[in-house]
């Protein structure tokens, strides 16, 4: 029978010449380079530059037309000699691959929860630090850009906050090396939003960012995966053709909002009202700054205007891609950025160069070397922690002049109350040299087996230096300093991949690897005080050194192209762990089911893809300060530390041999679905993370003589739902795409090992760790109303009874957990419209349900003191019967319920932080090829970007999207929803140009 068939076939074999043109179905443009193959053979051809092809085929065969990025088509040949084919672009991108830890995987086979952000989404949205572009783009990833300072860092949290004392930031991995991103390890609090090691990375060099969220994705990073992992892949050389790309952006910026502060006459009127309300008569005295009433009346300084300006930024990028020799290609990049923020005295300059060499002499071997150097220099405002703007919102009063009559600076309110003087007399700069280098070698001795070896070095040389002129110092002599940190961070990993290449629908792949990472930070602080006999003082800091040694493995199994299982295991040993817990083991297990492959769904018209997935895993967080488990003594190292010119030594901390990582157990359920040939794509995930052994830097009773110690104590739960959908609403000439994502989060401290909130310690601005509440919940006295009879605030005691006394802490105190730290939901919403070469895209981000505790309000709208008032205070009680938002003016704490109290930690300063923000509005014009090709340009794009153009919010402070400066990682976890004189974010208009040759 078979023979007969063959004979029949042979008999019918008739060769015809087939030709035609291949075009893009949507644009009608010719497609060059399409592969045309006779199915089941290696016979084939490719289409020419105009999309034409011709091939000799036998009748009855099937011809396969395939092209990257398009859906393949199979056509059986009957009698035709002309066959024009229009290919449809593959919007489903079924074969999209994603970078996972130590490898890549096909998106359809991934069981984990991973969000991907492409280079264009990073490059266009101008920002001096790349991590801020994640905002609103990935569900479950919360990104709060700190402030309007140049290079300000963002607080990035993946699926909630699972730590208290320890840094809760995700692990950032660039080209295989977990990079240094400790914002507190570089010599302190020198920026409006602390200094930011990530700001030296050129966003233009980033090819893609993958954010690994669940345990099955992050498990391969073991003890460092619990807070999520951001994998950054830099741009690599592609092809041997010479390709040159140039881009530039020019931007203007202003603050998103000018905070309304009172002017001098308003301030004096309020002060007088307080004075008289307190029963005084006559001309008020006791004015701050040692001023008399007459002196004060003569001035009216608008400090805000004095310390802000129109910001201006410029950025230039030039990249070249070319071939050097057979198998050797290169990409070189150079970039210059200058960012003058709207804050006087604040400017960031950055020069980046990058290089990638890719050598692939054979199919079995390739090597890639990536290297980047960044030189960043940031000039900070005189008073860096608040961007120099805090004084203008607080203690720089409008009644203070800038200068005295004799032309010297006015210092009556103290140095910091004259920000113009501080900007003038105090210079502070951060200078950083950073280079990230990675070499990766891949070798496949067999088709089934691949080895890869990656070694990388991330080196940073950071200097914080400054000068305080004698005119603002008590000694009258200049003081300058230079604090240096050098971070040597290197690693290597060896990974073996084996594809078992099983028969009969089974697919099994295994990966096994080993990694070692070491980081060493050296520090030298120097200062020069001209008033000292020995002017120079140098202090060498102890080396901060840590090491991780890890072994890991991953098994991926798939049956019938639809049933997926993945298991990973990582073992981490770290120098940061105590003697009794040197190694941690982190297993994960995940299952996936591509339901759409099943027969009952396979032919569905409306459902094109459906995958269900579930995972469980254990990951850890080991952001513990180095040496924390070791008991130590300190020794004097300078004569100034000695006692009577004799050396001293004393206990610093006692040992904790049990110290180990934080353990997070994660459960995940999710699905991915695509409908109507991919025009609707949606993903949904539910997660539950239980973190145990959470570090607390416990306050040891002071009577022991010790301060505090890191112990594994608390438990925290995070739970949430994430949903995202992408739709192609309109296709054809006029295209409209929508992306929407939303996520919810429940965060709760479930166990504190019996510690009191005091033993754990509060965060900045009255935030607390309270059992049963989210991390960083405010503890405040509730204000019920302002008594219309006397204008005094009415508080609620613990039982909810009204009282006019204010009593904060203690057994009888009224302070209770108050406010909402975690929003009900947050997300992003992008609409993109395309018509011919035009594209308009708008990204809105939103947050609903959280409250912000504005600690500045406590002072701006509290007792009349040495702070300026916000004009909101006009809504205050003035006479009996007034229904007002704020109480009567007073200078006495007794009026507000407690004599001696300056500031009242009450719910009066808790504000709704809901907002919708037009984060980015991008208008792009791709100049038609016909026009640009005359100038030998292959593509050219101009674009206009507006950042933070609109903000809809009821929040009365500077900016509802706020992250104040922080003292330590704990504050970044605990005091994320508080603000204190934080400069608002910037509103930016950018004009950009991209040209490729």
């Amino acid at each position: 029978m078979a023979l007969a068939l063959l004979l029949v076939n042979f008999a019918q074999a008739q060769v015809v010449s087939l030709s035609g043109k291949i075009t893009d179905q949507s644009t009608g443009e010719a497609l060059p380079g399409v592969t045309i193959v006779i199915k089941g053979t290696t016979t084939g051809t490719i289409s020419d530059f105009d999309g034409n092809y011709s091939i000799q085929v036998e009748k009855g065969v099937t011809v396969l037309f395939s092209y990257v990025g398009y859906l393949s088509q199979e056509i059986q040949i009957e009698n035709q000699s002309t066959l024009n084919v229009s290919l449809k672009s593959d919007i489903e991108q079924i074969e999209e691959v994603m970078v996972v830890g130590y490898g890549i995987q096909k998106k359809r086979e991934i069981t984990g929860s991973i969000a991907k952000i492409d280079s264009r989404d990073i490059g266009d949205k101008l920002s001096s630090s790349f991590e801020s572009v994640m905002a609103g783009q990935a569900p479950g990833v919360s990104v709060t850009t700190g402030s309007g300072m140049a290079g300000a860092s963002s607080i990035v949290r993946v699926r909630g906050v699972a730590s208290i004392n320890s840094a809760g930031d995700p692990l950032y991995v660039i080209d295989g090396i977990p990079i240094t991103n400790d914002i507190f390890g570089l010599g302190g609090r020198t920026g409006g939003m602390n200094l930011n090691p990530l700001s030296s990375i050129n966003p233009n060099d980033i090819e893609s960012m993958e954010i690994l969220k669940d345990a099955s994705a992050t498990g391969i990073y073991g003890s460092r995966g619990a807070n999520g992992v951001v994998i950054i892949t830099t741009k690599k050389a592609k092809g041997k053709e010479l390709k040159i790309e140039f881009s530039t952006k020019q931007s203007l910026s202003t603050p998103t909002k000018k905070v309304n502060m009172t002017n001098a006459s308003e301030w004096l009127q309020l002060y007088q009202e307080a004075w008289e309300n307190d029963g005084n008569t006559g001309i008020p005295t006791g004015l701050p700054g040692g001023m008399t009433w007459e002196q004060a009346q003569k001035n009216d300084t608008d400090w805000w205007d004095e310390v802000t300006r129109q910001g201006y930024k410029q950025e230039y990028n030039l990249d070249v891609n070319f071939g050097i020799a057979k198998g050797l290609i290169a990409r070189l990049g150079g970039s210059f950025t200058n960012n003058q923020s709207y804050l006087v005295g604040n400017e960031l300059d950055r020069i980046n160069t990058s290089m990638n060499l890719n050598y692939a002499p054979s199919k079995t071997f390739n090597a890639s070397l990536s290297s980047s150097i960044a030189e960043t220099s940031t000039a900070l405002p005189g008073n860096p922690w608040d961007g120099g703007l805090g004084a203008a919102m607080g203690y720089a009063l409008p009644i203070y002049p800038i200068y005295n009559a004799d032309g010297t600076f006015f210092k009556g309110g103290g140095n910091s109350a004259n920000p113009v003087m501080v900007n003038e007399l105090r210079d502070e700069n951060n200078e950083e040299l950073r280079t990230i280098n990675s070499l990766s070698v891949n070798y496949s001795p067999l088709e089934k087996l691949t080895f890869s070896l990656t070694g990388a070095l991330d080196y940073m040389n950071f200097n914080n230096k400054g000068l305080e002129q004698g005119a603002m110092r008590s000694s009258g002599q200049d003081y300058s300093w230079e604090n240096n940190r050098k971070v040597y961070n290197w690693n290597y990993n060896i990974v073996a991949n084996y594809d078992f290449a099983l028969q009969n629908d089974h697919d099994l792949k295994a990966m096994i690897g080993h990694e070692l990472q070491e980081s060493r930070t050296t520090g030298l602080n120097k200062n020069w005080d001209q008033s000292r006999e020995i002017i120079e003082n140098a202090e060498e800091l102890r080396d901060e050194r840590w090491r991780f040694i890890s072994f890991f493995t991953r098994f991926n199994y798939m049956y019938k192209d639809r049933y997926i299982a993945q298991a990973t295991l990582r073992t981490d040993g770290s120098s940061r762990f105590g003697k009794n817990n040197k190694y941690g083991y982190f297993p994960t297990f995940a299952l996936g089911w591509i339901m759409s492959e099943e027969d009952f769904l396979k032919d569905s018209k409306w459902l094109s893809f459906l995958k269900l997935k579930a995972s469980y895993g254990i990951t850890g967080n080991s952001n513990i300060p180095n040496y924390e488990h070791i008991g130590t003594y300190k020794l004097s190292t300078t004569t100034s530390q000695e006692y009577n010119d004799s050396p001293i030594r004393y206990p610093e901390k006692f040992a904790n041999p049990d110290l180990k990582w934080e353990t997070t157990k994660s459960y995940d359920l999710g699905f991915e679905a695509r409908f109507l040939e991919g025009r609707i794509a949606t993903e949904m995930a539910y997660f539950f993370k239980k973190s145990e052994d959470v570090f607390i830097n416990v306050a040891i009773s002071s009577s022991s003589g010790y301060g505090s110690q890191w112990q594994n104590i608390a438990s925290i739960e995070n739970e949430g739902v994430e949903f995202s959908v992408k739709t192609n609403n309109l296709t054809g000439k006029f295209q409209w795409d929508t992306q929407f994502n939303i996520s919810t989060l429940r965060n709760e401290v479930t166990d504190l090992g019996g510690l009191t909130t005091e033993e754990i310690g509060g965060g900045t601005n009255d935030t607390r760790i309270l059992k049963g509440y989210p991390v960083g919940t405010n503890r405040l006295v509730r204000v019920s109303r302002i008594d219309p009879a006397d204008g005094r605030p009415v508080y609620l005691d613990k039982q909810g009874n009204e009282t006019k006394t204010y009593k904060f802490e203690g057994e009888e105190g009224f302070a209770v957990a108050a406010g909402k730290v975690i929003p009900d939901f947050t997300g992003g919403f992008t609409n993109t419209f395309r018509y011919k070469g035009f594209e308009l895209s708008a990204l809105f981000t939103f947050s609903y349900g959280a409250q912000i505790y504005d600690s500045s309000s406590k002072r701006q709208m509290g007792l009349a003191s040495d702070w300026n008032f916000r004009t909101d205070i006009f809504d205050r009680w003035r006479q009996p019967g007034d229904i007002a938002k704020y109480p009567r003016m007073s200078r006495e704490g007794a009026t507000y319920g407690k004599d001696g109290e300056q500031w009242f930690n009450s719910t009066m300063w808790l504000f709704d932080g809901d907002y919708i923000r037009l984060k980015n509005l991008i208008f792009t014009y791709n100049i038609p090829k016909q026009i640009v090709s005359k100038a030998n340009i292959s593509s050219m794009r101009v674009f206009l970007v507006g950042t933070n153009l609109l903000t809809f919010t009821k929040y009365p402070g500077a900016d509802p999207e706020v992250a104040r400066d922080h003292d330590d990682p704990r504050d970044r976890n605990m005091s994320a929803n508080v603000s204190f004189l934080t400069p608002p974010q910037e509103k930016v208009f950018t004009l950009g140009l991209n040209v490729s040759f």
Partner: protein
């Protein structure tokens, strides 16, 4: 296959075991040493002792003094100050706004002292005499540190008849543990024991009195007995110090911060080494660009300081800024110094202590009291114009002693504890509007100190 697996397991095992040592990284820092290596030799122990001395600056370097003054009646706080000094001044300290510094630093001093005592038998190369002296010094420091804390954080000795009211934790070992408060009686007993043992061991001279001596222990004991209303013993100890001849009464004026022959136990700054002590007195400073946050109460300046016509102290130790203007204030000048010396224990104070004790002890010694007062007045008025006559009435002498004690020690915190001592002895004493035993006059403990064993101080309502 099986073999390969075995080899793999073997290699992995080897790697792991090799790794153990890679995972032990000790801090490499000339400024840090491992706990287990820290105290091996006599020199190590000596350095630990130096550290115990060094931290005295944390509480007696101005913090204790200024907190005492803020609670008392001599000073006012500058308008617009917004730190815990406001709460202290308003006599309303809380778990969050209180004098943590004095408390913490004193207990750090106590920990270091305890570690000396615990290690003294374990170190090499130490003679028994050396060991004894170090133990004496440690006990001296432990005693004065407890004394600082108990005066601020508990009601005074005598507040209850048996002194069984809550005091502070007595720490005589380095164990990290939660403890309840001891009674005031127990605390004072421990202080007396420590200082008495120190007195017996310590030498008469020790590096120009930056280290503890027999005399320092006696002076401290005099203060403790004085506070305990044990005027006999207070007199005796003070008298021994004065009669030792080790210290010379300075007859011309000197700033509090000057390094004089009066110092019985002192902390010293050095411009050469860059060492600074006494920075916490900076809140009084009015020199250069310093604007004092703590100022002399205007009525005290007018009615007390300037009461004695021709009193040189009034003109030498104070300065009036913006006289006559609405923003006029009176500043101390005697704490103006970039590199101050802090005389923790000094002759003038011990003399005035002896004078008062002389008048209060069962057998009154008026002659000594008058002599002490006259020494002081001779200096203050540059002559004998205001000297007491030998025939002065007892009351007059006692009043004179107390007036001079207040004037001489202005800003040093003694006045508050003198008033509390007199109140607890039965006098009707009011301190800036409140009775001597007002709860707000006792400083609150830091919030993290309080637990199920440890009760906080009551707070004013």
């Amino acid at each position: 296959m099986k073999n390969r697996l075995l080899i793999f397991i073997f290699l992995t095992g080897t790697l792991f075991s090799g790794c153990e040592s890679l995972l032990e990284i000790d801090p490499v820092d000339e400024g840090v040493i491992l706990e287990e290596d820290a105290i091996q030799t006599k020199q190590d122990l000596q350095e630990l002792l130096n550290a115990a001395y060094d931290v005295v600056n944390g509480f007696y370097g101005g913090h204790f003094q200024r907190t005492s003054e803020l609670l008392g009646e001599n000073v006012v706080l500058r308008d617009g100050i917004t730190d815990e000094m406001v709460n202290i001044y308003k006599r309303y300290t809380t778990g969050y706004f209180t004098d943590n510094e004095t408390y913490d630093q004193a207990y750090i001093c106590i920990l270091r002292s305890n570690l000396i005592l615990e290690n003294i038998d374990k170190v090499s190369g130490i003679s028994s005499a050396e060991a004894a002296q170090m133990a004496g010094e440690a006990k001296f420091l432990r005693g004065i540190a407890h004394f600082a804390v108990v005066r601020l954080f508990a009601q005074p000795y005598g507040y209850t008849a048996a002194n069984d009211h809550a005091g502070i934790i007595i720490k005589t070992n380095s164990k990290v543990e939660l403890l309840p408060r001891n009674t005031v009686a127990e605390v004072y007993q421990q202080i007396v024991t420590d200082l008495t043992e120190a007195e017996a061991i310590l030498p008469a001279g020790n590096a120009n009195f930056v280290y503890a001596t027999k005399w320092a222990a006696k002076a401290a004991l005099a203060q403790v007995y004085f506070q305990m209303h044990d005027y006999d013993k207070a007199y005796t100890k003070a008298d021994e110090v004065i009669k030792s001849g080790a210290f010379t009464f300075v007859t011309n004026f000197a700033n509090y911060t000057a390094n004089t022959t009066e110092s019985i136990f002192k902390l010293v700054s050095s411009e050469t080494s860059g060492k600074r002590v006494g920075s916490d007195f900076g809140v009084y400073r009015s020199d250069g660009t310093n604007i004092p946050n703590i100022r002399v109460a205007p009525d005290v300046y007018k009615n007390v300081i300037k009461a004695g016509v021709g009193d040189l102290r009034a003109s030498s130790w104070y300065e009036v800024f913006y006289p006559g203007a609405a923003n006029e204030y009176v500043a101390f000048t005697r704490f103006n110094s970039e590199f101050p010396t802090v005389p923790v224990l000094r002759l003038t104070e011990i003399k005035l202590l002896r004078a008062e004790a002389a008048m209060l002890k069962p057998s009154v010694d008026k002659t000594t009291a008058i002599q002490d007062v006259n020494d002081i007045r001779q200096r203050a008025y540059n002559g004998s114009s205001r000297n007491l006559a030998a025939t002065a009435a007892n009351d007059a002498v006692l009043n004179a002693v107390r007036t001079e004690r207040r004037l001489e020690l202005m800003g040093e915190g003694y006045n508050l504890h003198d008033l509390k001592r007199r109140g607890s002895a039965g006098e009707s004493i009011t301190i800036r509007g409140v009775k001597w035993d007002y709860v707000g006059l006792v400083i609150q403990f830091g919030a993290s100190e309080v637990n199920e064993l440890f009760t906080a101080n009551p707070e004013p309502n």
